[in-house]
């Protein structure tokens, strides 16, 4: 059992959970993730370790509640426990030790680039972060990232920071020159756009792929992705890969495998909750 110590809402459907998992907190490295199972009949879901405190024995998970399993997970109240947290899984990020790195985060992906920026800064590498969201309320981890270097914020609607996409801000940085490495994490279309952008500039770019997973140890093959035409397992060979080799179209397609199932599960969940909500509203 892994007790939840704190739960904070970061955005309308994004929650930060601080979970007691001392061993993982002690050995995790940037880029690694855990697989979480809330309770006996729950699904196993992969979540990046957004931050960790080895001394306190805690890890930080940032969860966007989009399906039934994530909705259930963000409802775990401080003091309650999560049944299983296994990890740290995945290969750690290959951090460059010289030059200037740009970390690009979109939406909840910003939480995923956070440990990378943290790791780079610890190695003394200058880091610039470019983060964005649909609007102001979707921008997360700005404070945290400022600890490691300048942060450029973009919003699609211009409600905060620069009006535009993260790729607009990144293009300016690339044009200015002096960008040696880009780490980008976010929705698939964003990572694909970043990859297309950095390719002509020949700037090495790493992305973190959120494939569908079961075990996270290489035994099911469900997380397979195509990298330079070769099949790789995101859970053990990744989750980070050379962006310029990734087949993003395939990833996006495979991510829709259970769309119908998920919609039905969410509908069922809402239907279950409705009477309770109606009752609460009546009172």
């Amino acid at each position: 059992m892994y007790p939840v110590l704190a739960a904070t809402a970061l955005s309308p459907n994004v929650t930060r959970l601080v979970v007691e998992a001392p061993r993982i907190a002690q050995v995790r490295q940037p880029g690694q993730f855990v697989i979480v199972r809330r309770g006996p009949d729950a699904e196993r879901i992969p979540l990046t370790i957004a931050d960790a405190d080895a001394e306190a024995g805690t890890i930080t998970l940032v969860i966007q509640a989009v399906g039934k399993s994530t909705m259930d997970l963000v409802e775990v109240a401080p003091g309650d426990s999560i049944a299983d947290v296994v990890g740290p899984l995945g290969s750690p990020t290959e951090l460059l030790t010289t030059g200037h790195a740009v970390c690009v985060g979109g939406g909840v992906g910003t939480a995923v680039v956070h440990p990378i920026a943290q790791g780079l800064a610890a190695l003394g590498v200058p880091v610039t972060s470019v983060i964005g969201g649909r609007s102001r309320e979707w921008v997360i981890f700005e404070e945290e990232l400022r600890r490691y270097g300048p942060v450029l914020v973009c919003t699609d609607d211009g409600s905060y920071g620069r009006h535009g996409f993260v790729t607009d801000a990144l293009r300016d940085l690339l044009d200015e020159g002096g960008v040696d490495h880009v780490y980008a994490v976010g929705p698939v279309p964003m990572m694909k756009a970043v990859s297309a952008l950095t390719l002509p500039y020949k700037v090495p770019t790493l992305v973190s792929l959120n494939a569908i997973m079961v075990d996270g140890t290489g035994m099911c093959g469900g997380c397979r992705v195509s990298i330079g035409g070769v099949s790789k397992y995101a859970c053990v060979d990744g989750p980070e890969f050379d962006a310029h080799q990734v087949d993003f179209g395939l990833l996006a397609d495979r991510l829709t495998t259970y769309r119908d199932f998920e919609q039905a599960a969410v509908a069922r969940r809402t239907a279950c909750l409705l009477p309770a909500l109606a009752e609460a509203a009546a009172r």
Binding site: M219, C220, S231
Partner: protein
């Protein structure tokens, strides 16, 4: 179990007259609707009748066929006498997980394949009897006390909780060692819980075996991936010995175009979603696709499990696609038979060359070719070759690839000093020790995908070797005691032989003396003087 001792013992002729009893099973039409167990087990009546078929051979060939050398006639005799309790004690002495092996062992190629009665007619149903006795033990646990030895003060780490790890842990705990099992998944059991489906091996049976280990003091740490959560190096520092039983969990794909399409599963993924994650229950949070026409590629137990699972998940057509013929299907015969009963279609001597899909990248079919047996190769085996111009399309909306597994490099790659062979399996010596002192290994990670019973045999052998490694003095003393005992026995045998010889000599002497005496009497009784 007391008064039955008066049962009359049958003559061999009477035994031979009894026909093999078949185990009751659920009807195929109803069982494909859910995941309840297909085989229902012997009743007491059937078990005793079947046990009476055993001839109690002087040189029981069945034992030779058993990889862990269960004393088969001994427990069967006890069943025939109505002493199930005694049979259970006898069986559990030889085999730590008989509830499991009674259900999943390929008996037809092991004990039953060697049974004398099989030479003329049907062999004794050893597997069904094993299951009967084991299930009795499971439901009468209070009558089966555990013997736990005083703590040895030694700590052993077991990595992986499949049959190899569970068996080793049980044996080591019996010798008083403190055992911790590290398991990557959230539940213990390995293939027994994530692979083999409920309808063939109910999960509560595996669970009660795991519970029994816990009762013996074995600690089970789930959610622990060795190579990630802890390294092997760390385990070696924390424990006096380590047993690696991580299985062969890396799925092999066909390596044909289209395998990335949605609707293509490895058998590992499909079975894990359905079994371990419970996707066969409608209210499970774990999604799985419900194919209507499901093609399963492969012909082993894994393929049979996948195809029969697909039937139960609602597939109106479930098809086995296998490149060799019916006789070559490597699955247990009973599984093939059950699959046939359940309406599974067999496309034999067929090999897929491509997975076909639509614009949204959903599977729509398999492009296949027909195969025939070619010229014998160097090994003398005739390999299947493609029949020219035989290409055809097998329409389907889901494909499960069940053509084997390989070693998962997650752990082995993290320890470069651990010697592996060209396929990535661990190299061990006769005792089961790897190239690292104090690190032992067994099961599928050494043999490649094999069987439950072989994995268990490895677990037992390694546990013995670990006990010796941890306490060479005791091992030497035990060896010396055994040697002394053997010497004593040999001496006694020698003395007995000498006594017998002496006796025989005496007897011969006496006989000669008697003869001489008789001759003397004879001579004396003859008339004096030369005759004739």
């Amino acid at each position: 179990m007391t008064d039955q001792a008066e049962r009359p013992t049958l003559t061999n002729r009477e035994k031979m007259a009894i026909e093999r009893n078949s185990m009751p099973e659920q009807a195929a039409q109803t069982r494909v609707l859910d995941f309840s167990e297909v085989n229902l087990g012997f009743t007491e009546l059937l078990a005793v009748s079947e046990a009476e078929r055993c001839l109690q051979c002087k040189n029981p060939t069945c034992i030779e066929g058993c990889p862990v050398r269960v004393n088969i006639p001994r427990f069967i005799d006890l069943v025939a006498r109505g002493d199930v309790h005694g049979a259970a004690e006898s069986l559990l002495d030889d085999n730590a997980l008989p509830c499991v092996t009674g259900r999943v062992c390929p008996q037809e190629t092991q004990c039953e394949g060697k049974c004398l009665r099989g030479k003329k007619g049907a062999p004794v149903a050893i597997g069904a009897l094993e299951r009967y006795v084991a299930d009795w033990a499971l439901t009468h646990r209070d009558q089966m006390p555990l013997t736990v030895h005083p703590p040895s003060g030694k700590r052993v780490a077991v990595v992986g909780s499949g049959p190899a790890g569970l068996t080793a842990a049980g044996e080591l705990a019996k010798s008083g060692h403190h055992v911790t099992i590290f398991e990557a998944f959230h539940a213990a059991g390995g293939v027994l819980i994530y692979g083999i489906p409920e309808f063939r091996l109910p999960k509560d049976i595996v669970q009660s075996e795991v519970d029994r280990l816990r009762d013996q003091g074995v600690e089970i740490q789930v959610d622990a991936v060795i190579g990630r959560t802890w390294t092997l190096h760390e385990l070696r520092e924390m424990y006096d010995a380590v047993f690696l039983a991580v299985g062969a969990g890396l799925p092999v794909f066909m390596n044909v175009p289209g395998e990335h399409l949605k609707g293509v599963y490895s058998a590992n993924e499909y079975l894990t979603r359905v079994n371990l994650m419970g996707a066969f229950r409608a209210d499970s949070d774990t999604p799985v696709l419900h194919g209507q026409r499901v093609a399963v590629v492969g012909g082993g137990n894994v393929a049979m499990d996948a195809v029969r699972t697909a039937r139960r998940m609602g597939a109106s057509e479930a098809i086995i696609v296998y490149r060799r013929g019916h006789d070559e299907l490597p699955a247990r015969r009973e599984e093939v038979h059950h699959a046939e009963q359940e309406g599974v279609r067999f496309e034999l001597q067929v090999a897929p060359t491509e997975v076909l899909g639509n614009d949204e990248r959903w599977v729509t079919g398999l492009r296949c070719v027909r195969m025939e047996l070619g010229e014998p190769d160097e090994s003398g085996r005739r390999r299947p070759v493609e029949v020219p111009g035989s290409e055809f399309i097998l329409p389907c909306d889901m494909v499960v690839v069940a053509i084997g597994t390989r070693s998962n490099p997650l752990l082995t790659a993290s320890e470069p000093d651990l010697a592996i062979n060209e396929w990535g399996y661990l190299i061990v010596d006769d005792s089961g020790m790897t190239s690292l002192p104090g690190v032992f290994a067994g099961g599928d990670i050494v043999r490649g995908a094999a069987t439950v019973i072989l994995a268990m045999g490895d677990g037992k052998r390694a546990a013995n070797a670990i006990a010796r490694y941890l306490d060479p003095e005791a091992a030497k003393a035990a060896d010396a005691a055994a040697a002394a005992e053997a010497a004593q026995a040999a001496e006694a045998a020698q003395a007995a032989r000498a006594a017998r010889v002496a006796e025989a000599v005496e007897a011969a002497k006496a006989a000669r003396a008697a003869k001489e005496a008789a001759a003397a009497v004879d001579a004396a009784s003859r008339p004096e003087g030369p005759t004739a």
